[in-house]
């Protein structure tokens, strides 16, 4: 038959969005926090970022090759995982630990479970938690911003050490402005609320994420830390808790991970509230100052369960219709 026609099932038209473009958008949104990290903690941060990304991409490449699967590094998700992990590491982290983290994130948590979209927890956060447990000292050694010196305390460890004090007023406390700009010790990409908010606005504008998870998560933390204050009910400092530690980067970039957060709006609300509850539980009543990573990972694991119980009613399937 002359010129055979190509036949397939409809639709015959697709929109321009691609997975690669979504990943690129996430990378672009992570540039401000990465830049803030390099500005405050020096070029070593850039080195950590570069090495972690390279290790993540190489791990994915080798694993796909070894497992005889299609090559997927061009979808850019390995870059995102590497970058996210780097931004959640202390600036002084030994390079080899960062590499181990990237291998755990991309090799163990992502590829061994089937690759993109199949991981049961956020790869970068999962790896971070393993590193925190395995190399507790290196993972909690902080650098003073704009100075090549070891920092005494992060905003959250300060809070932990002086559990009864009021944060505001004391001379040892970090100012809200420093916390907002990121001039505080912490992980490379987590300290600058301003930079993270820039990324957040970009992701919203590009339609990559919706406001629901970041706002509900942060809101829950703010509300609970205010209510459960150190000197009785309603004496807490919610702003301090929102700006301190990894809450904002976690709420904007980690908790919103498509693969490990619920599919529906209803599920999302349950999930984000759960993240907030657990974060406050770990921060206020746990042994470690920070709880964002553990909170998100626990809710990641609960996500399939949430999804199972929040299957939406179909249009026209509601009770009493018709």
């Amino acid at each position: 038959m002359e010129n055979r026609l190509f036949v397939c099932s409809s639709p015959h038209l697709r929109d321009n969005a691609t997975t690669q473009r979504i990943m690129l958008d996430v990378i672009i949104a992570l540039l401000p926090p990465a830049a803030a990290g390099i500005i405050y903690f020096g070029l070593r941060s850039a080195l950590i970022i570069a090495v972690t990304i390279a290790a993540s991409v190489l791990t994915e490449y080798l694993m796909r090759k070894g497992l005889k699967r299609d090559q997927t590094i061009s979808d850019l998700s390995a870059v995102v995982t590497g970058l996210l992990l780097a931004l959640n590491l202390p600036p002084s982290i030994p390079v080899w630990i960062a590499i181990v983290g990237a291998v755990i994130a991309t090799g163990l948590i992502k590829q061994l479970f089937g690759g993109l979209g199949q991981n049961f927890m956020n790869p970068a956060l999962g790896a971070r938690v393993i590193l925190v447990v395995a190399w507790a000292k290196q993972m909690t050694t902080w650098t003073e911003p704009l100075a090549d010196a070891v920092a005494s305390a992060t905003p959250l460890s300060l809070l932990d050490a002086t559990a009864t004090a009021t944060p505001v007023g004391g001379t040892d406390w970090y100012s809200y402005m420093d916390m907002f700009l990121g001039k505080i010790p912490g992980c490379i990409g987590e300290t600058s609320a301003l930079a993270i908010l820039l990324g957040f606005v970009y992701l919203l504008a590009r339609g990559v994420i919706t406001w629901h998870i970041p706002v509900i998560y942060t809101g829950t933390v703010a509300l609970l830390t205010w209510v459960l204050g150190p000197e009785g009910l309603f004496t807490g400092d919610p702003l301090y808790h929102v700006l301190a530690g990894g809450l904002l980067i976690g709420a904007v970039f980690m908790a919103t991970d498509y693969a490990t957060s619920p599919m529906t709006r209803k599920g999302t609300v349950i999930y984000a509230t759960g993240c907030g509850l657990l974060t406050v539980l770990f921060r206020l009543y746990g042994n470690m100052p920070e709880g964002v990573s553990f909170a998100i990972i626990l809710m990641n694991i609960l996500t399939p369960l949430i999804d199972r119980h929040t299957i939406p009613v179909a249009f026209g399937g509601e009770k009493g219709v018709g």
Partner: protein
Amino acid sequence: MALKWVFRGGVPAPHRKNTAGSETSAIGTPEKVVIPMIQHIGAPCTPLVKQGDTVKVGQKIGDSEAYVSSPVHSSVSGTVTKVEPMLYASGKLVMSVEIKTDGKQEISEDISPPEVRNRDDFLKAIRQAGLVGLGGAGFPTHVKLNPPKDKEIDCLIINGAECEPYITSDYREMVENPSGIINGIRLVLDYLDIPRAVIGIENNKPDAIMILTGLAEEDKRISVQSLRSRYPQGAEKTLIYSVTGRKVPSGKLPADVGCIVLNVNTVSFIASYLETGMPLIRKRVTVDGPVVNRPKNVDVPIGTSLRDVFDFCGGFSSTPYKVLMGGPMMGIAQYSLETSVIKNTNAILAFDKKEGDLPAEWACIRCGRCIDACPMNLLPLEINRLVMANKIDELNRYHILDCIECGSCSYSCPSKRHLVQSIRLGKDAVRRLKKA
């Protein structure tokens, strides 16, 4: 009028109404036509002619005893050369009548305006006309207009949404024959005793809205509703919701919420048939696509091959890679240019490889865009996962049979996954499981 009811989901599919300004031009009588014995949902017709018979324009050449069926008429005069199964638009072989035309286009003596005095006459006439839904599925109109006695119909909805990209055949009817549409509506309202009619038109066709709004002023029962231009606005369930705020319950029909939906071309044909008695033998078809030399709207005798219609439009600028009957969102890809234009063909489109190829699938990243796009509030990504894993028994939990197959999920997927395509397979498997 402001939009009171806004359906969820959908996608901002491009409009590409390149042929909107193209006044309908009639194609000359082709050398032969191939008229399939089934051009509708329901029982196939039995051929009433055999090889060697001479036929005239409008002559009935196929009919069925079944209620849910629709007779088929010759669109040409000439000699029957073949009565055998031939390739049909769906890709199946269907009993068809091939007629070699004699160029005279002699009109059958049987053609005269039907005598219609009451509802029964009216419905009988519509069946005789061979009228089926001209907007898409091709459901016999006399069946649609005769809902069960216990369903009270209080609203006739006329579908002028035309939300599929490229297609302008409904639009051309609205600007070329608006009084026919209004007359047809009045006939349906009168004979079926329905109190009101609403013509729903997407707001990307402001002149059609203006013209019909002006004409509708003559009859207080008829109004025009401007609709959001968002795919799939013209799907029955979303259209009914946008116009009345009523949701057709899962597994039910429009009549269950007091509505009947007719396409603008269907309703104007009713007026024309009652006036002339000429059955449905011609169709306006939008011919477009990147490889068509002169895209336009063409008035085509039913049974004309796609090749003849494309030739009338100046042929192809390069070899077509994919040819569709219908729009790009729900149209059916054709195996051959020899298939015929049938009653519900509203467009034929030809694409090159760049636009026509099937994109490669990437892994699902669970971004949820398909969920946001689904007008039926389903979870396409989950249904896709279950179908691909052959977990058919779990599909009902995800309301798979509520899918209207609009394709918004596949359209919006950044990983280019074949979501609705797999849902179709799943629906079929679920139905077979039920029967077993």
